[in-house]
Amino acid sequence: MGTSPARITPNASPTKMPTTHTENQSQVQTATPKMRASNINFYYGSFKALHDVSLDFAANKVTALIGPSGCGKSTFLRNLNRINETLRDTRIEGEITLDGENILDKDVTEIRRRIGMVFQRPNPFPKSIFENIIYGPRINGLLKNRSAAEVVEQSLRRAALWDEVKDKLHDSAYAISGGQQQRLCIARALAVDPEVLLLDEPCSALDPIATAKIEDLLVSLKHQCTIVIVTHNMQQAARVADTTGFFLLGKLIEHDKTDVIFKNPAKKETEDYITGRFG
């Protein structure tokens, strides 16, 4: 009998290297990205929350941002449509472009029309379903060539909500379920025809059925706009995202095709986090 194999620690992964942050963290080459964040540093007062983050967002793709709480992924997302500017004593360095133009130099209202956002908890206005949808198009002057009813129906259909609410459009938005409210918020964001849709943990307050509906919706919506989603649910990132970026301590550790991130990530930090060995 030959020699027995020696025992070693299981799951040893000799190819993983600790991250050095001087290298480019993104492995996804995008010739003409819809959005590009370049060398973003962001400060809450004297606290530096983002460190030199660069990331491209390809058109009509879903990009997921993952990482532990406090890693900077939501802060980064909120910079993409300048929502962070509503906070006092914050400062951003770097450049964020939409179709090649720096959004930091543009009219913020126009930027937020082109880059919509959906938050963690559904936040419908205290109005009817109809009024929730039509508010944005009305204040943005988008009802010149289309009727309000047409815009409402189209937006609710795009959010896969029309069949469920078409008979109660003038009921309060609070009268529908949490999952429906979140899709209403997506429909409200879609009503102004955004080119990019940002979602900050949109399913964290929803049950699995409502979550599945939102995920199906995201996959179908990417044909109409570019999507960036922050999520703590790694299975969700694996299901819906074309590319995934991993953040840690305000740095983008790794960004690659979702298959690569979840099958064979390049960085040890990424693997430790997604396999639950973090910390």
């Binding site: 009998m1 030959g2 020699t3 027995s4 194999p5 020696a6 025992r7 070693i8 299981p10 799951n11 040893a12 992964s13 000799p14 190819t15 790694m234 299975q235 694996a238 095709k257 298959d259 690569v260 979840f262 099958k263 064979n264 990530p265 990424t270 693997e271 997604i274 396999t275 639950g276 060995r277």
Partner: protein, 221 residues
Amino acid sequence: MRPFEEEFELLNDTLQEMGALVAHSVHRSVLSLVEKNEDYAHQVIRDESRIDQMEIQIDDLAASLIVREQPVARDMRLVVAAIKISTDLERMGDLAVHIAERALSLMTQPPLPETVNFGELSSLAESMVLSSLDSFVKRDAQAARGVLEQDDRVDRHRNAIQHQLTQLMQKDPSTVTRAIDYLIVARKLERIGDHATNIAEDVIFLAQGVDVRRPREAQVA
């Protein structure tokens, strides 16, 4: 170590244990043939059910980890590799039994009029088994690639034995029954080499996330 890590370690350890048992069976089956040792042959046949049970145990562990942990990255690769490797090991255990059964049959018959050299074929097949298992333990993709390179040599040795036995049967038809037993043994040893090759491919996937069965340009990572 957190509880889920212990379960991945248990999967790893069970697979190593099964590998060691199969390697012993292959070795004993060869010895039963070469040394005409009945005890070894019966031991191989007895161990088959234990090997089958271990395959089921590994499948259960892997399924449980998939359901409860939804493994990704190196954990996912271990679960996928464990399911595939345990299947290959179980087949190798069966092949060892087939060799042991032929060895018992040949013990009741007179020797062939000329020597058939099984030494190189069996050594090579056993070496592939041990190297593939060792590469699994060490997560050594380079060693696993070395196993892949040995597969052609096994085929050549098996073809040489087949050629020799075919000529012998043509020359002396009274040898047909015994020669067929030897042909079967050669075929089983070659198949053991094939399964060792499969294990080596799985080890490369496990260690590096690379599927060597695919053309390079089709690989995800």
